[in-house]
Subunit: 223 residues, 2 copies
């Protein structure tokens, strides 16, 4: 799950990025609308965090512009404390949620999880499938009832595959979901590596990751 944070205050942007990173999201930071547009052109995001007050324009205009071009990426808007009309206006413009600054990082995390899982058609963070039990909120994984430790990247990959269960995910798509621009120079072999590591941990769970040569990977029930 890749997130674009459009926010010009470095402290805020970085705190959010760190917190969301821990929660399994890959984040890119865009301090201006121009940067944001550039990012969106290059890759697509599972969601966007948008500050309304930016150096090169209003986030509201930007949001309206995106919606007019048919972009349906979930957007969470950050508003200043007292601008009620901004908040309401943003929702009218097509924002999916808002948060008043200053906000609690845990809340941002929870709301983004809600937005992205809504996109995936789920109502809660927990997914149980055959012998597998994954909770994106607690970042915990159980296989046949036993807790299995997995690293941040492994969990992020699993999350992506689970959200697209039954679909073949191209390697570059998985790559985009795991790494932001700052890790852009990582070799493509990495995905194969993490698939291998995940497979070991999922062994015997009744769920497996199939390889489709030249196409990508697909997670589904055994058989």
């Amino acid at each position: 799950m890749r997130i674009l944070i459009v926010e010009d205050t470095p402290d805020v942007a970085e705190a959010a990025s760190a917190s969301l990173g821990r929660a399994g999201f890959a984040c890119d930071i865009a301090p201006t609308l121009a940067d944001a547009r550039a990012c969106i052109d290059i890759t697509d995001y599972a969601a966007m965090v948008l500050d309304l007050n930016l150096p090169d324009g209003s986030g509201r205009d930007f949001l309206r512009e995106r919606r007019r071009t048919g972009d349906l990426t979930p957007v969470l808007v950050l508003t200043a404390q007292f601008s009620v009309e901004d908040r309401v206006g943003a929702l009218d413009e097509g924002a999916d949620d808002y948060l008043v600054k200053p906000f609690d990082l845990r809340e941002l995390e929870a709301r983004l999880r809600a937005l992205t899982r809504r996109e995936a058609g789920r109502a809660e963070n927990r997914i149980a499938l055959a012998g597998l039990d994954f909770d994106a909120g607690a970042q915990s994984l159980r296989v046949n009832g036993a807790a299995v430790t997995a690293t941040r990247r492994e969990l992020a990959l699993l999350n992506l595959l689970l959200a697209n269960r039954g679909r073949i995910m191209p390697k570059d798509r998985l790559f985009d979901g795991l790494f932001g621009f700052e890790n852009a120079d990582v070799g493509t072999n990495t995905i194969e590596l993490y698939v291998a590591r995940l497979r070991k941990k999922l062994a015997g769970s009744g769920v497996s990751i199939e390889t489709h040569r030249g196409l990508g990977y697909r997670l589904d029930l055994d058989g």
Copy 2:
């Protein structure tokens, strides 16, 4: 456990803060409703102590406002001696408890402990788990029957971890629970330090604190 004290008389606020600090709570003081709102936006509290008579408005209105926005943080209200209707009104507005000024600090402490443990779904201050026996009221700790001395911070950390047993607690969350704003500049290494100290004291108790790299710590039974 972090507590917000909304009280404009410095003497009272500071006495309460000191007393509660000794009892293992991390306190922030807000002398006005505006300050209180700012604090609440930034972090969240295990409970709130609310004076009703404040320079920029009535605590009752504030309480009503919080409840209307869905905030369920336990609130203990401080009332003047003779305003019975305030007291009753506050309870109606959603206060969880009240104390008449002037009050005994020990009583404040005991009532806050009651409120926070109710939140954690417990009926008493004492938690026994495997070879561990912790009493938040007496601030006493026993491991396999033997009394173990532990400092305020160690106990506060243990309390937090116990209240969230089985959940991974991010380091910054533990940090928030242990330190108020006034200690905001304490190095993050501190949490690791206290985890190490606690681990030593819990050795052999059947309960242990697991490290989850990049995510946080989790307290649970061994195994």
